[in-house]
Symmetry: C2
Subunit: 230 residues, 2 copies
């Protein structure tokens, strides 16, 4: 049995939910609020961060990239040609580079600001770090998002999928990143037709369905968020 | 042929140099200054960060954890019982968790402040971000270092090596982290005898020798930095 500690709007958590769905591996979900730092969860992951995966009585598998390796080692072979890491070490290195790019760099430079300003600040009370979004921070997040969209377009123009011929963790990482921002209606799709075309392909995969059904109390998704034809 | 883009005081770069030495794989080194952002290096790694490894005409392998996976895939088997990632997926997940802990979390919370304040600020000119170290930042770095030393002690008291029975990437990551701070004489060894004992074991490995010979112009290493009996 698989148990996933996650947060609905954490990009690395969404990535793992997508990977699990691609592996057709069901997991029980437990939501963790990033500012909670509850002691029982710190015993699971002393870093206090999500996602964390547990399988049966095994030790906690902490962080998205470590979970991705674990799922490849335990499920990858059975996926056959749908395996999410290529066979060749060079191809694997490229997938891992992009996985890190979208789960860490893009989140640090853009994604986390949207989530903090437009979601987490609304979920917390005023005395606990809640409040209205900061427009300067959002402007910076939008500026940096443009650069990451250009990079996705650059890759999608030259390759079948982001890391090469094969659909991979790289696409799921970029998809998790964009889906979070798209929930908030902050992706300028019309300006990036190549990215839109790539996202349409990934969005229509069955593994994406649960992500598109996500909903946060009091913060509804953008109108087109669920539409496959947006 | 292997080519490594690195920085002498970057913890992830030191980690890769240690891994290469454990694999007995020689590499040509090219030093990159983090604030340089030269165009020819951005073509190698668009993220602009080190370490980056290239093998023959292969594509760049970017970031320490991706290089660690690459070297395990291409050299791990030949290391036999000295392999730096265990065989079992659970053991691998634990090594990867700790590798991330020491190369990312410990660096973000402590290591990078020592390096920025005590090295990089002295290497840059006043108009380019150079200047004296900020004492408040250093105080925070020292406070956070204590927590990471306690964590190493916690692990070293319970296990033969940090991730379990076997010497692994986890030890090399923690060793790279501490060696950088030790160069600056900032590790309070006397207060953490268990950590000192573990570090003495790793410091005496042949792979550590090139690291102990490191020297930065104008910023000499602490007196005991090279001593195996410190």
């Amino acid at each position: 049995m698989l148990l996933l500690y996650h947060n609905l709007m954490s990009v690395p958590s969404r990535f793992v939910r997508l990977v699990l769905a691609e592996c057709k591996a069901g997991a029980e979900l437990t939501e963790i609020l990033p500012w909670d730092r509850k002691e029982d969860f710190l015993l699971v992951n002393p870093a206090g961060s999500v996602p964390v995966l547990r399988e049966n009585d095994g030790p906690p598998v902490c962080s998205a990239s470590v979970i991705a390796e674990y799922l490849d080692e335990t499920r990858g072979y059975s996926l056959g040609t749908r395996r999410l890491l290529p066979d060749h070490p060079n191809g694997r290195a490229e997938v891992r580079r992009l996985m890190q790019w979208f789960l860490e760099k893009a989140v640090d430079e853009s994604g986390q600001f949207f989530i903090e300003e437009k979601i987490y600040k609304r979920m917390r009370r005023p005395g606990e770090g809640g409040g209205p979004p900061d427009s300067t921070t959002l402007r910076a997040a939008r500026g940096n998002l443009k650069i990451h969209l250009k990079y996705i377009a650059y890759l999608a123009e030259r390759r079948n999928w982001l890391a090469g011929e094969q659909f991979s963790y790289a696409d799921l990482a970029a998809g998790a990143f964009l889906s979070t921002i798209d929930y908030l209606g902050e992706v300028p799709w019309d300006k990036e037709p190549v990215v839109k075309d790539w996202y349409q392909r990934i969005k229509s995969r069955p593994a994406f369905r649960p992500i598109l059904a996500d909903s946060i109390k009091g913060i509804p998704a953008a109108n087109h968020y669920m539409d496959l034809d947006f």
